[in-house]
Amino acid sequence: MKKYSVFSLAREALRYHSGWERAWASPDPKAEYDTIIVGAGGHGLATAYYLAKEHGITNVAVLEKGWLGGGNTGRNTTIIRSNYLQPESAAIYEKARGLYEGLSQELNFNIMFSPRGVMMLCQTQHELRAMQRTAHANRLAGIETEMVSPERVKEIVPIIEIDGPRFPVLGGLWQPRGGTARHDAVAWGYARGASARGVDIIQQCAVTGIDRDASGVTGVQTTRGPIRCKKLCIVVAGSSGVLADMAGFRLPVESVALQALVSEPVKPCMDCVVMANTVHGYMSQSDKGEMVIGGGADGFNNYTQRGSFQHLEETVRALIETFPMISRLKMLRHWGGIVDMTGDRSPIIGQTPVPGIFINCGWGTGGFKAIPGSGWATAEMLAKGTPGTLAAPFSLDRFTEGRMIDESVAAAVAH
């Protein structure tokens, strides 16, 4: 792997950029791997990267049915935060946020991490109390957040209207170290790092079946032929149910569409992320000047990667009350992704009923922010065969034991 630096840039500038190498290799699949990871999104690629880097396991293939980072990794609104209520969630999301801080340097790939701050608005009395509770829980977990007054919210976000008739801003939970990152670059950076360490990333290779015998998994059938493996890790977000069906078990997961949209680009007007959970809308401004807006998920199962128009209308209608200036903006484009929702809105990282098959899924509407932590914890689990302290609470059997990690109402975020 050639290092990217100001010197390599200068050198290439003098020879018409003819010396750059491909960021990652595209090898043909081998007949057998120690570990196969299905899904080359952020979580799958991060898992492969940390398997190679932290545990020295490089006989690994990452199989992807489409193109790298083309699913939810390239479709989210790029928000990074860790202000979760439950200690288990706070631990893994804070691990991820911490890793994001040094990720550009570590990967030698600019992921454009921008810790611009995340403001979660409190627009009802109930939400204000819930956020105060979260702020205390964050303090206990060592996560830097603070409750701020409506006047301070207005100071940080001047375009906001704090005296709205229906949903006045009563306060805010401010996480100054949260922010955004370039979502594609996160996938590309991890892919480059994993590929340089010997991991095979195989795109355009859909898994069509999972082979197993009495002792567990033996390999997968793919559109590029059968591949044998000792361990299999399914990291396919919205398609988790389909892969689980191939392996012969069911998951406590439902796949629904989640949408986002961007406005036409405007001059800089908001330099942090604002989340209005009561009205189901999040907004930040991209470096290009577009207002990036995310809303709530559809309520019914869907695999089409497109959602319902009325959800966009609902999101924008609600945001206009809090941000009157966006009422004159034109929508540039909108898109949908298929997210995998669990009953308690917390992810699943753990072993499955089939020996040798591991799963990482259920991130629902909030997977992007967790990519480094999730990959780190999943790699640890794959290397050791059992989940480590970060992953253990998120095991699949919590649904049998009733040991929920309830973020559906607790985090007061629109899931």
Binding site: G241, R250, L251, S255, S308, Q310, T342, F399, T400
Partner: protein, 107 residues
């Protein structure tokens, strides 16, 4: 926009008039059941990519619950039917088999 015909009042209801109610025909386990059965009832879902049976409520219409058979991959609707049944009626199954000859009812 998703449009479902309410089998009770006969209205072609738009998505905004309807409230989704999740997977249909779940076995409701009660007292005396073990942990795995409660898990299946409360959380475990088929989540198929293809033919799916769901509960819907005509929330901003007659207010009644009903069932719908739908394809989650194409958003095609095969039909709607009464809530007072524990499995899809024959005409719905025929409608599905006509358009999806390879489809089999999962166990």
């Amino acid at each position: 926009m998703l449009i479902l015909r309410c089998p009770y009042c006969g209205v072609d209801a738009e998505e905004t008039d309807l409230a989704p109610g999740g997977e249909a025909h779940l076995t409701r386990h009660g007292p005396g059941s073990d942990d795995a059965e409660f898990r299946d009832y409360l959380f475990q879902r088929r989540n198929p990519r293809g033919v799916h049976f769901e509960r819907w409520r005509h929330a901003f219409g007659c207010g009644k619950w009903f069932h719908a058979a739908r394809c989650t991959q194409t958003l095609e609707v095969f039909g709607t039917y009464s809530a007072q049944c524990s499995e899809p009626p024959e005409e719905i199954m025929t409608a599905i088999r006509t358009r999806r000859p390879d489809w089999e009812m999962p166990a």
